[in-house]
Symmetry: C2
Subunit: 206 residues, 2 copies
């Protein structure tokens, strides 16, 4: 017996997908994780949507034109992309590859539809479904955002109804309670720690 | 959509098996978890082995006679039992049932052979393999215990070699570094938190 026998745990970096319906607080959770200095690479998504006042280009998103987004699609620079409420969102492939190569766990925030795509492309990804404690809480979040027209809001609620049914396709589900953002972050952190201790780990291939 | 749609996570109590070769520190880890007041039911194992000076009957183990152990086997009172280094060790079934019924997560410390039996009896159990960072560390632990004859020590080391090969049958592996008992406990706690967030949970049936 030599010490390699003790190396049961493969220290491969993980690809973590944080998903869930619009309005469950994916952005807030990611921002809190960043504030707490958790040692992950947070993928900066490319999007054609309008920048909200508090957002910073290159940190919250890469805000790009429709033309630039089209170029990225053509050049196969996106791991996954989708139209989300009339705006394009996509995951820059090279950014993810670079982070994994440097040994960092990668966290990407992605819509429910996109998470399904990642599941097929990268079966070893860890899929976390973020949800709220009730429909009311989700609606309140969307209203508070004040970036929706009444029609837009209606559309998001209807979509959320459908998306909730897809939770069973995920590995984990975490309830993001309005007043307990740190508890949500703790739960996600615990999931990542646990996944690093799984006996059967596979290297993420992109 | 009503609020039951949001109940993705089944709050069923978990059956957690902490296993690993002799000398990796299972007892120390369990004791530290207790000291930290973690909200679990720690199964008290029945054993025919000699009580060590620092141990307390009914807390560390139930120390029973060979006759009493034979009676427990006959009465089908044990979930699992095995001869471990010439002494019998067994898990009282009713104790585990009672804890699960009351909604508590149950942690049982069990040898590698016994963990395999639990896997078959209770497929939904969460199996954690505890190990040391090196063979040397494991030998040092066994020597420091000073409860082994030279032959006994030799036997345990030989057995550990075989048992290490069975780590792949477990769900998780955790390295218990000599000076980092709290880190080990943190890892185990994270695994339990994560398991409570798994989308596909099944109720433990005993």
């Amino acid at each position: 017996m030599n010490d390699t026998d003790f190396k049961i745990i493969d220290p491969e970096p993980l690809l973590i997908v944080l998903s869930g319906p619009s309005g469950v607080g994916k952005d807030s959770v990611i921002n809190r994780m960043r504030e707490r200095g958790l040692p992950f690479h947070f993928v900066v998504t490319a999007t054609t949507r309008q920048k909200r006042p508090a957002e910073i280009d290159g940190i919250d998103y890469f805000f790009v034109s429709n033309d630039e987004f089209a170029r990225m699609i053509e050049a196969d620079e996106l791991l996954e992309y989708a139209i989300v409420y009339n705006d394009y969102k996509g995951i820059p492939k090279q950014q993810v590859r670079n982070a994994l190569t440097s040994g960092e766990d990668v966290i990407m925030r992605i819509d429910v539809q996109g998470a399904g795509t990642i599941r097929k492309l990268v079966p070893e990804a860890v899929l976390i479904f973020l949800t709220t404690e009730s429909e009311e809480a989700m609606v309140q979040r969307l209203q508070a955002r004040q970036t929706e027209t009444p029609e837009g809001l209606k559309l998001r609620i209807a979509t959320a109804r459908q998306e909730l049914k897809r939770a069973s396709e995920f590995d984990y589900a975490v309830v993001n309670k309005q007043s307990c953002l740190d508890a949500t972050v703790d739960d996600i952190y615990a999931i990542i720690v646990a996944e690093h201790h799984r006996v059967l780990q596979r290297k993420v291939a992109l």
